[in-house]
């Protein structure tokens, strides 16, 4: 529906009109920016790995690490256990490196960045060019600020608020920069949570990752603002392989947000990221994702294959990691943000909403591996299937013999909208000591007719009513999101289900 044609009635304020406009178009990030790109040759080989490494001015040890990963990858077999079905990926028919031409010389400041690029992020609603970025200008008192690292295809195009964060001792930069500037930290932690040989896509990522974000919070520091990365796949036939490494040193705290979009294209694109979180004694990391990659059209054409390895290591005692994810995009999702609860009294939490509509397939969940004493974990997963989509929750809760007095609570609920879709639950529960308590419950149901009727009888349209009921179903997870994201996520839930009723 073209919103411009709609007559706005008196008394409706501009904000409402804007909000409704924003909600119309099925996938509002589907446009594509015409930017001159520089590509590495198609295909994957040792030379490509060397090329990526040299483009990033990497030291020798990093190249060796990548090459070892590449050689390992050649010996691995692509996994097929997930309940997803997609044509075989031709790894030689992809670009592994694409960057905007204007980035050949690394820009000194955001002012040197191609205006078209900045325009892209502006369109996405990412305030890359924060006014406070200008030296000395402070943001108004009380306003929440977010530092952003924006990754465009293979490279990071800009990181905001770096100087201000530096004052607090926080390092927030692209990973390529971190490899050059802070090699001691990168060498100490990279690959210690997700080892090089972890799985097929993680190994591939180790070999060809081009950029991503790096965060280090020093001991005792509470990061003064939310950190955020924004990923955009723009170029065609390009895989995005970003790598994120977050280290929260003793008694520190950080909240990190991640958003992703891609243009609407007929050909499926691969996204294989690795995210590693490390929480030392008493540290806390909050990691939130709104994943809204292009999901493909209603016939399943195009879209992103989202094969991501995310894992947190609660290495220190009393450390805490919280994963929150809203998964609405991608044609195929294969993602299990996990926590290794190694430190005594450490905590892991996982809150997830996964919405699959049309021909989308999602196989997602978490692993909570309890190794330390008195560790706690909580899993709340809400899966929603509509159209012809398949949505699977797959998770593991493992209590090792030494994880005495540990506790887990798992709740995974599935909601079905329509009789052509599927909702599946595949939990693994392994309890190897008796002082720990594990509770797991799962339900599957359809949207409650009574609730729908109640909404309809009060004059709501059917789609609005479904969106409202679904938002209620997801409430526990939405509440776990930082405020800015919660609003966006609610709107996303409504958009993702458009056309799924009637």
């Amino acid at each position: 529906m073209a919103m411009d044609d709609v007559q706005v009635k008196d008394g409706v304020d501009a904000e409402t009109v804007e909000a409704v406009k924003a909600l119309s178009g099925a996938y509002k990030y589907g446009w594509n920016t015409e930017i001159e790109m520089e590509y590495a040759p198609k295909g994957l080989s040792e030379d490509i790995v060397r090329l990526i490494s040299s483009k990033n001015d990497e030291p020798e040890w990093m190249l060796d690490w990548r090459l070892a990963a590449y050689r390992r990858w050649l010996e691995l077999i692509e996994p097929d256990w997930a309940m997803v079905d997609y044509p075989k990926i031709d790894f030689q028919d992809q670009y592994y490196y694409a960057r905007p031409k204007s980035m050949e010389e690394k820009p000194k400041s955001l002012d040197d960045v191609d205006p078209k690029l900045l325009e892209t992020y502006k369109k996405l609603g990412i305030p890359l060019k924060e006014q406070a970025l200008l030296a000395g200008v402070e943001a108004p008192e009380g306003e929440r600020r977010v530092a952003v690292d924006a990754v465009f295809d293979s490279v990071s195009v800009g990181t905001t608020f770096q100087a201000e964060l530096m004052k607090a001792g926080v390092i927030f930069c692209s990973i390529s920069e971190a490899i050059r500037e802070h090699p001691e930290l990168v060498r100490k932690y990279l690959g210690t949570v997700v080892p090089v040989s972890d799985n097929y896509y993680a190994t591939l990522n180790c070999a060809v990752f081009s950029d991503g974000s790096f965060v280090y919070i020093p001991p005792g520091v509470r990061c003064p603002m939310e950190l955020s990365t924004y990923f955009r796949i723009n170029a065609e036939n390009t895989g995005q392989f970003e790598r994120t490494l977050i280290i929260a040193d003793k008694e520190s705290y950080v909240s990190y947000l991640e958003g992703c979009t891609a243009p609407q294209r007929d050909i499926a694109q691969l996204h294989a990221a690795v995210v590693e979180l490390i929480a030392l004694d008493d540290a806390e990391i909050k990691y939130s994702t709104v994943q809204n990659w292009y999901p493909g059209d209603e016939n399943g054409k195009g879209g992103i294959y989202n094969f991501v390895t995310k894992r947190a290591d609660c290495r220190g005692d009393r450390s805490k990691v919280m994963w929150t994810q809203v998964e609405t995009g991608s044609a195929v999702t294969w993602k299990y943000p996990s926590c290794v609860l190694r430190g005594n009294d450490s905590q892991g939490e996982f809150y997830s909403i996964a919405i699959a509509n049309n021909m989308q397939q999602a196989d997602t969940g978490t692993k909570m591996v309890h190794l330390g004493k008195n560790t706690k974990s909580r899993i709340v997963s809400k899966g929603i299937s509509a159209g012809k989509a398949q949505n699977t929750y797959r998770g593991l809760v493992s209590m090792h013999p030494k994880a005495k007095n540990s506790r887990n609570f798992t709740q995974c609920d599935s909601l079905l909208i329509g009789d052509k879709c599927g909702a599946h639950t595949v939990p693994y529960i392994e309890v190897k000591n008796n002082s720990s308590r594990v509770e797991h419950e799962a339900t599957t149901s359809k949207v409650d007719d009574d609730q729908l009727f109640y909404c309809r009888s009060r004059g709501m349209g059917e789609e609005d009513a479904v969106a409202l009921v679904v938002n209620g179903f997801c409430k526990e997870v939405l509440q776990a999101l930082p405020m800015e994201f919660a609003m966006e996520a609610q709107a996303l839930v409504a958009i993702s289900l458009e056309g799924s009723v009637g």
């Binding site: 079905l416 002082s435 339900t443």
Partner: protein, 421 residues
């Protein structure tokens, strides 16, 4: 997958020419196709997802010396039984089988010699249907090799339960295959007690016609035994299927139950209780397929484990597209009495219909200290209090047994076991 050596389970060769040539036409066909199926599937491997928590090699290794110790004869079900059939060392003890009203009982070996028999429509057929999506090659092997078993054809209400009691001495490998056919409106209860062999591979195929009803109760208590069982059942409309298994102190058991609801408005229950001590590994694997409207399925499993015992539960509810109004329920709980025991569970749902209510729950934990304290403060000695709490924990699974007399018999048998240990 490359098929491994066909020489397994027993020393009898799979392609035993004698076995096939002595069979009647239907049996020859069934055995040959099952044999080909097993060859193609190969043996289960430890890395198979389907065998994630239980070692399949323990069921197929050769020359495992297991000498079962006979349990003192227990009087369980003594009052209820009128029809008893005995198996001795993995063979039917007597040729003449009891004749009862509304039901015909025959031996598999006799039926195999005939060229035509009603069992040809079921034997190996339900097992074949149950090979999807997971390969169960050990069940296919059973179909190919089994010569012993009962064929029970219930044509009306069978008033008293049929009990199969088996006794074995020494390292006996048993391959047993029972077939039960329940006609429309008929109902029958089958009880299995004792142990067929030191190592047993048992398949039961059950066809329940519309409005039929089948009840199954099984006691597994052979101390030094390895037991692998499969139940394959197909359930018609307005019908009922209930199976309960009590497992106490077997060394290694895996009970697979593969049910398919093909008619509307039916209900099935698979329940199990196990008491595991030290060198004990027990695996319940259940796969229930809903392919009809308005059916109910229940899976209720309770495991009490101590001294390093391991309990496994793999349960799945598959609701096919169109199987609306399905009510699926699944609960698996374990009570770990000490630090060394383990509970491993994989409760799955796979759902392709929207108007359904499916749920599963799984819990694991130690005995409730507060409840224990309550009992002790009222003068109950600790071991007795633990037994009481154990019994109350298991009670839900026993509550799934329809016949109150049988449920009571099992409860008192359990009390005896707990007191004895």
């Amino acid at each position: 997958m490359v098929a491994s050596s066909p020489k397994l389970i027993s020393d009898r060769a799979l392609h035993d020419a004698e076995l096939i040539s002595n069979s009647g036409a239907w049996a020859k066909n069934a055995r040959q196709s099952a044999s080909a199926r097993a060859q193609e599937q190969g043996l289960p491997q430890r890395r198979d997802e389907y065998w994630k928590y239980t070692r399949p090699d323990l069921f197929v290794q050769k020359n495992v010396a297991l000498i079962p110790q006979a349990r003192p004869e227990i009087s369980i079900f003594a009052d209820q039984m009128k029809t008893e059939i005995e198996f001795k060392n993995a063979k039917l003890a007597a040729d003449d089988l009891p004749e009862i009203d509304n039901c015909k009982i025959e031996s598999l070996s006799n039926a195999c010699a005939l060229d035509l028999h009603w069992v040809q429509d079921i034997y190996g057929k339900l097992e074949l249907a149950g090979q999807n999506p997971v390969k169960r090659s050990l069940a296919a092997l059973n179909t190919a090799m089994a010569t012993e078993g009962l064929l029970v054809h219930a044509k009306g209400q069978v008033s008293s339960p049929i009990r199969i009691h088996s006794v074995s001495i020494g390292s006996i490998d048993a391959v047993i295959h029972h077939v039960v056919k329940v006609e429309a409106g008929a109902s029958v209860t089958l009880i299995e007690t004792g142990q067929y062999g030191a190592r047993s591979n048992v398949v039961i195929e059950v066809e329940v016609a519309d409005t039929g009803s089948f009840h199954h109760i099984r006691i597994q208590d052979g101390q030094e035994s390895h037991m692998l069982t499969h139940i394959f059942a197909s359930i018609g409309a307005d019908a009922k299927f209930k199976s309960f298994t009590l497992t106490a102190d077997c060394k290694m058991t895996r009970n697979e139950c593969i049910l398919e609801l093909v008619g509307d408005n039916s209900s099935v229950t698979v329940a199990g209780a196990c008491l595991g001590d030290s060198n004990f590994h027990h695996d319940d694997t259940v796969f229930i397929t809903h392919d009809a409207v308005n059916c109910e399925s229940r899976q209720v499993f309770k495991k009490v484990l101590r001294n390093g015992a391991v309990g496994v539960f793999q349960g799945k509810i598959l609701v096919k597209a169109g199987a609306q109004k399905t009510d699926g329920y699944q609960i698996s709980q374990s009570l770990l009495l000490d630090e060394d025991s383990q509970f491993l569970a994989k409760p799955e749902l796979e759902i392709y219909a929207d108007d359904v209510a499916c749920s599963h729950g799984s819990t694991s934990g130690a005995i409730d200290e507060e409840a224990l304290f309550y009992l002790r403060s009222r003068g109950v000695p600790e071991p007795k209090a633990v037994d009481l709490l154990t019994l109350s924990f298991i009670a839900q699974a026993i509550g799934e047994i329809e016949d109150p007399d049988l449920a009571q018999a099992i409860l008192s048998y359990l009390t005896d076991i707990l007191e004895a240990r």
